[in-house]
């Protein structure tokens, strides 16, 4: 998918660069602690679970489960006026790690539903991670 919407592109920093460049290549990159093995998002210099320094960049499958969701009916900022209504979900990724992303709706959104990642390339030069309902029986 390729869209232009005039929105400000994210400004990657030294910590987040690997995440954003991963998305540009349609890969979902998380960090994994080399001591306790837990995955985390956002990227940061040490493990928020055990405190161990560093961490390995690993690629998540993009499969996950909806932990919670909201539907934005009224835009809070002018940037999003053309987008409403839209759903933002909190997704727990298979293998660990939680993040927030837009959900492409194909019906009712329910807590616990299986979703998988998709990648939206914005003409402004960044790639957005979104999710869609997982196809029955595996990846679409």
């Amino acid at each position: 998918m390729n869209v232009a919407d005039g929105r400000t592109r994210p400004q990657p920093d030294r910590e987040s660069e690997a995440f954003w460049s991963g998305l540009a290549g349609h890969r979902l990159i998380l960090q994994e602690c080399q001591e306790c093995g837990r995955r985390r998002f956002p990227r940061m210099p040490s493990c928020p679970y055990c405190g161990a320094e560093g961490g390995a960049d690993v690629e998540a499958t993009g499969a996950g489960t909806v932990y919670s969701w909201i539907r934005v009916e009224r835009p809070l900022t002018p940037n999003m006026a053309a987008e409403v209504p839209y759903v933002v979900a909190t997704v727990d990724l298979d293998g660990g790690g939680r993040l927030h992303a837009r959900l492409h709706e194909g019906g009712d959104v329910t807590i616990g539903m299986a979703v998988e990642a998709l990648y939206v390339d914005h003409r402004e030069g960044w790639t957005e991670l979104r999710f869609a309902t997982a196809a029955p029986g595996g990846r679409r």
């Binding site: 929105r7 400000t8 592109r9 994210p10 400004q11 990657p12 920093d13 910590e15 987040s16 985390r40 998002f41 956002p42 940061m44 928020p48 679970y49 932990y67 919670s68 969701w69 909201i70 539907r71 934005v72 009916e73 009224r74 809070l76 900022t77 940037n79 999003m80 987008e83 839209y86 933002v88 909190t90 939680r98 993040l99 927030h100 992303a101 837009r102 807590i111 960044w126 957005e128 991670l129």
Partner: protein, 381 residues
């Protein structure tokens, strides 16, 4: 030496003050001093907080009040987590002799100026939220609310119960910005802003200021009103509170906020139990935080907060009058400083038409999500 809130002060709450924030802050602080009967020259401490530089610093108010010597000053870069925390810090300064009289205030042109509801917070987590349209604090609280309602088996009628109960108090409160009676039908007829929230689930942004004066119990006894004793205070950020005020990607449980984590310390330090609480002032930027707070503090059963509110327990004359000023939902969004002031008024027996009777133990909270603070205020006993 124990500390107490001896006086409270407000400016008018409006949608367009036409005044500087410094003018509002000075007025509220002067009113708190007059309320207590303390001269400005006796002030030696000032504590305040701001979000994205939307207020004036402690030194500015020390200047406009002509405070001769400031021994204790705090400018916290915090939102609604701050009011109880700052009163507690002020109480500790008084208890340890580091200050004698401390003003704690919040002042902002929150409606006509920078509006927290739509401002873009800075911080390392912001880059992941704003570009995708996850771009308002309301959305983060809504995300928690949806999960909370799902997991505890509650729903829109439970959110509505809070909005209705608090509006009934606001009808009795001349300071409140929203006083039009609210019915369940009207609530349900109004569209979602961010599902599960409707407009009446949300605080109303205002211009205004609110202040309290913290001093020793000993001095407060000689002032105009009975002391509202600071029996205990607590601040808590649970595990992995995130990289900024809106980052909750690493928080495990959206159905429990800081109130669950600080409850034991808060009540234990005060030597009271949740069952002893006679009035509660629970931080309510949105209706859901009242439900989560009531459950987190152990004031009702897990999953039973909506039924508790619907039963009339939190209304005037109920077992636990709650948010007796109408809350931030109806009185106005002073980021919980007015919630603390109302708690003091209720302990002092000065709640006017909205005072159900004498109250000896009050719990008051500040904050909605990962971190926050709370106080137990008691009568002088």
């Amino acid at each position: 030496m124990r500390a107490a809130i001896a006086g409270v002060g407000y400016s008018e709450f409006t949608r367009d003050s036409g005044r500087s924030v410094l003018s509002l802050a000075t007025e509220a602080c002067r009113n708190a001093l007059d309320d207590a009967g303390v001269a400005a020259r006796e002030i030696d401490g000032v504590a305040t907080f701001a979000v994205m530089n939307d207020s004036v610093p402690a030194q500015a108010v020390a200047t406009t009040l002509a405070v001769p010597s400031l021994r204790f000053a705090v400018d916290a870069d915090l939102g609604g987590q701050a009011p109880c925390y700052l009163v507690w810090l002020a109480a500790m300064a008084v208890e340890t002799g580091r200050a004698r009289n401390v003003l704690v205030y919040r002042a902002l042109n929150g409606r006509s100026g920078a509006r927290v509801g739509t401002m873009q917070f800075s911080g390392m987590g912001a880059q992941f939220r704003y570009p995708i349209g996850y771009d308002g604090y309301m959305m983060y609280v809504a995300m928690w609310a949806q999960r909370f309602l799902h997991e505890t088996g509650q729903g829109e009628l439970d959110l509505a119960s809070v909005a209705l109960a608090q509006r009934a108090y606001a009808e009795l409160n001349e300071r409140a910005v929203r006083r039009r009676p609210l019915t369940l039908d009207a609530y349900l007829a109004s569209p979602h802003v961010v599902d599960p929230f409707r407009a009446d689930d949300c605080t109303v942004e205002v211009d205004g200021a609110c202040a309290v004066l913290v001093t020793s119990v000993e001095q407060a006894r000689s002032l105009r009103h009975a002391p509202a004793v600071v029996a205990s205070g607590a601040y808590r950020a649970g595990p992995r509170p995130g990289l900024d005020i809106g980052d909750h990607a690493l928080w495990d449980d959206y159905t429990r906020n800081y109130t669950s984590h600080l409850r034991d310390e808060l009540f234990g330090s005060a030597g009271v139990s949740p069952g002893d609480v006679q009035v509660a002032e629970i931080y309510d930027c949105f209706t859901s935080t009242v439900l989560i707070g009531l459950e987190g503090l152990g004031l009702c059963e897990r999953g039973g907060s909506g039924a508790f509110v619907r039963s009339g327990a939190t209304a005037q004359g109920g077992a636990l009058p709650t948010n007796t000023h109408g809350g931030l939902l109806s009185e106005g969004y002073l980021h919980g400083m007015n919630t603390v002031a109302e708690a003091a008024l209720q302990i002092q027996g000065r709640g006017g038409d909205r005072q159900a009777g004498p109250h000896e133990v009050c719990v008051v909270t500040s904050g909605a999500l990962m971190d926050g603070s709370a106080l137990i205020l008691t009568a002088d006993r």
